[in-house]
Each structure stands twice: as structure tokens, then as C-alpha cells.
Symmetry: C2
Subunit: 230 residues, 2 copies
DNA sequence: ACAAAAGTGTTGCCCTTACACCCATGC
DNA sequence: GCATGGGTGTAAGGGCAACACTTTTGT
């Protein structure tokens, strides 16, 4: 059964990528879904994704599908898990490499349904419609990964617009982690990470204005270094 | 490009699993390799692995290949990463789902080359021969994962025989993490985790006898719970 | 002036780290 | 009796959690 006993022809699976794309807007953690036009699961919502092409890196396939189906580019992407259980796709043997992705609230606004896909829409992760295939399971797993990332790295700001207040950032943490956080401790912790800096601007809203922050170049470099592998 | 536009026939990749199987023996962290009999990379060492069958779970395929090629069963297995870069296999389009696996020193002794594979042998991870395909990269990534696991969970003992001394366990940590640890702090930390218990036996060697420990049922349950997902 | 969110420090506790000596055995 | 690895406690410092009031604005 070695790869090298290769004169015989073995059956081959189809390989797809599926992308769990998160963002944060209006106080909700949201996931992008596409409404399927065709069977199986016509009119069900599903993760964006599709077949991998030959001579294409898996991550490139994920980026391409996101662009084709939702018009978004330049996105934080990382491999999540590969799902290959028999029966996960009624059409036959289909293995899916799932990716985990984040867009800022700014980028999220550019999303529009691509030509060859159905409608694209954002859904509250905690209130999803019935999903096609095993996509609910994939989202649950992605959410778990998002929680780890938020706790261990400072990646919360990837979900927000370019400038944001500390209260907004805290709201992201609270909603993703599903727990209430202490304001002072939160601020101390985030500021001590040295990953965000003041913009000097203020946000004016209903009440006392709040300082605006952006994530610092340092934070971006840190994350790039951490991802240099594999 | 949706999965559902499926009347056209897309080319399909071959899908394999490759397993990075670790153990610890004679003061070394070791990886199991198989000597390839056929081209490409004939006579090079490679990770155990092979094609996934239809109607087979990916993890089952990994377990099967380990059994066929090395005769080992009932192993700690978890998915590591999926490698699909173009050109990673000279035979064409081959995507590999890599698995991370650990056997105890006891189990490692049962390893023997299977019928349809070449020789099987254990190698010091820090002193590997030239490897086939992108297998060196896969091993480097698996090693990184092993380090995380050792730091965050108490899984060091999976590498050791059923009963072991604290000094042996410390040696595992030191060699995997490549740093020297303080004996008292190490013992305090491990014991406070409540994952190992005394067997009541002693190991008699050259010098003062050492207490033998085993990992407790609790540790096994904990790890099972943590892995219940995805 | 009042409602509402922004902003700010201190304390106690726990966990981590650094560190050195006696003990039990085999030879 | 000596060489060798086994085994043990304490003190200081850093990080984390708990906790309440003042400030600034819009209306």
C-alpha cells in the first residue's frame, strides 16, 4: 500500500477547501455563508469553498475561493483541519481541507456574492441556520480555534476596523470567549502586550469620547514570525 | 467552481497519509522511518504512510498504515497538518494528510517491518538521514507540535514505558524541549498535575533506587476528554 | 443636571523560579 | 568508603484577579 506501488490505479477522492471566515460587526461574531444553488443541499447555507485545482497550493485555493465567492482579498488565513469521514458528502468521496480566516469589519463590508455562487451573507455564529454537509461541525471547531488564538495571541483586533476603542476590543473578547471581563484588568493586559498604540484620535459617540487605537506594526510582525511555519 | 457544479470532471489528486511516530529510548527522541524500495526516492528513508482507501476515515487510514508497515496498534494518533504544495511528490498531484503519533518505549519494541514495506527503523530526531519527499519538513512541524503538547498537557509519559522514574520523565522533557530543567521544580510541577501516581515499586540500578510511577487513569481520561473534538 | 460610557491603582494571592544539601545504594 | 544519581524545602518576585470611584461628554 506504499505510495510507490503505483502502477495500479487507485480510486481518488475529490479534494475541496472550505473556509470559515469570521468577522465582528454590530456586537456580533459573524461567519460568512453562501446559499447553495444546486443539489445536494440546494437552498441550504454552506461555507464558502470549492475544488482545489491541480498545481495550486491549498492555501491559494482557499484564498481564490474566497475571492471568487465573496470578493474578498488579502485575508488572514490558516489551515484548520482536514475532514474526510466517509459519508460527509452525499456525492461520494470528498475530502475537505478546512481553513480558518479573519477579516476586519472594514473588509467585511466589501463582501458581495461572486458570479458563480449563490447569495453570500453574514450570520451570527451563535445563531446559525441549518447548514449543508458537516459544515456546522467545521464551524464549531473553528470557533474553538478562534478562542485559543484570542487567549494566547493578541489577535482580537483582526476582527475589528482599522481603528477601534478599547471597549470595542473588550466586547470582541467577551463575545468570542463568552465571558465577562474586568475592564481594568483587560486594559492592563492588552496594553502590556505592546501590540496596539494610540492613534491620537478620539471616537465621539453618545457619551464621553474614547481614545482610538490601532494595532502596531510590531503586532503584525510578531504574528508573521509565529506563522512562518510550517 | 462550487462543489456542486459537478457534471464536469475535474482532475483529482491522490491522497495519502503520512505518520510521524515518536518514541523515546536510550536517552533519545526517536522517529520511525521506512526505507523505500521503489522509485521515486528508492533507498531513501521516508515516513510510514500510504494511500487512503475509499470509505475509510483518515485517522483509520493512518492507523492501518502503521499496522501494515510497522506492526504497531493502539496508538495515540492525532491529525497534524495537510501538505499539498505542487511538486511535493515527483509522481504528480499528491496531497498528504500528516498524522502525529506517539508510542511508549514498550510498544516501540514491537515494531518490525511489515510485508509490503521496506525496513523499518528508529532514528534520533536530531540526527536524521536524507529523507524522501517533504518528509523532513513534516517531521520538523511534528516536533514543534510535540513541544507544545509537552508544555501544555502532561503527555510526556506517552513516550515512556508503563512505569518510569521521575528522572526518566525529566530526561524526556529536557530532550524534547532542548533545555535543562530544575529537578525540584520539575517534580513539584508534575506531581501537582495529578496525572501520575506511585506504583509502590522501585527501580534498582547502579545507585540509589528510584520510585517508579505510572500515569493515572485520571490522566488518560483527561486527555480523552480534550480530544473529543473535532 | 443627569445619564452613560470612559478611564484609572492598589492589594492579596498564587504560581513560578532560583538555589544546595543529605540520602540510599552498588561496587 | 566513595561515587552516583535520588530525593527534598524555602524565599523572593512577577503575574493575575478582585474591587469602586471620578471624568467627560451629549442631551
Amino acid at each position: 500500500m506504499r505510495a510507490s506501488s503505483s502502477k495500479k490505479e487507485y480510486p481518488k477522492p475529490s479534494v475541496t477547501v472550505d473556509i470559515v471566515l469570521f468577522t465582528f460587526a454590530e456586537g456580533e461574531l459573524r461567519v460568512l455563508l453562501i446559499k447553495r444553488k444546486r443539489e445536494p443541499f440546494a437552498n441550504h447555507w454552506a461555507l464558502p469553498g470549492g475544488f482545489v485545482n491541480e498545481n495550486e497550493r491549498l492555501e491559494d485555493a482557499a484564498a481564490r475561493e474566497l475571492y471568487e465567492e465573496a470578493g474578498v482579498k488579502d485575508i488572514y488565513l490558516e489551515q484548520l483541519y482536514t475532514f474526510g469521514d466517509p459519508g460527509r458528502d452525499p456525492r461520494g468521496w470528498v475530502i475537505s481541507v478546512a481553513y480558518f480566516a479573519i477579516v476586519s469589519a472594514d473588509q467585511a463590508r466589501q463582501v458581495h456574492a461572486g458570479d458563480d455562487a449563490g447569495d453570500a451573507a453574514w450570520f451570527n455564529v451563535y445563531d446559525l441556520p441549518p447548514l449543508a454537509f458537516d459544515h456546522e461541525r467545521i464551524i464549531r471547531y473553528a470557533l474553538q480555534r478562534l478562542r485559543y488564538k484570542l487567549e494566547y495571541t493578541g489577535l482580537g483586533f483582526l476582527l475589528l476596523p482599522e481603528s477601534f476603542t478599547l471597549s470595542q476590543l473588550q466586547a470582541v473578547y467577551e463575545i468570542v470567549l463568552r465571558e465577562k471581563l474586568d475592564k481594568r484588568n483587560f486594559r492592563k493586559k492588552i496594553l502590556s502586550m505592546n501590540i496596539i498604540e494610540e492613534t491620537g484620535q478620539m471616537r465621539h459617540g453618545d457619551h464621553r469620547p474614547a481614545r482610538l487605537y490601532r494595532f502596531s506594526a510590531r503586532a503584525i510582525e510578531l504574528e508573521k514570525a509565529r506563522r512562518r511555519f510550517p
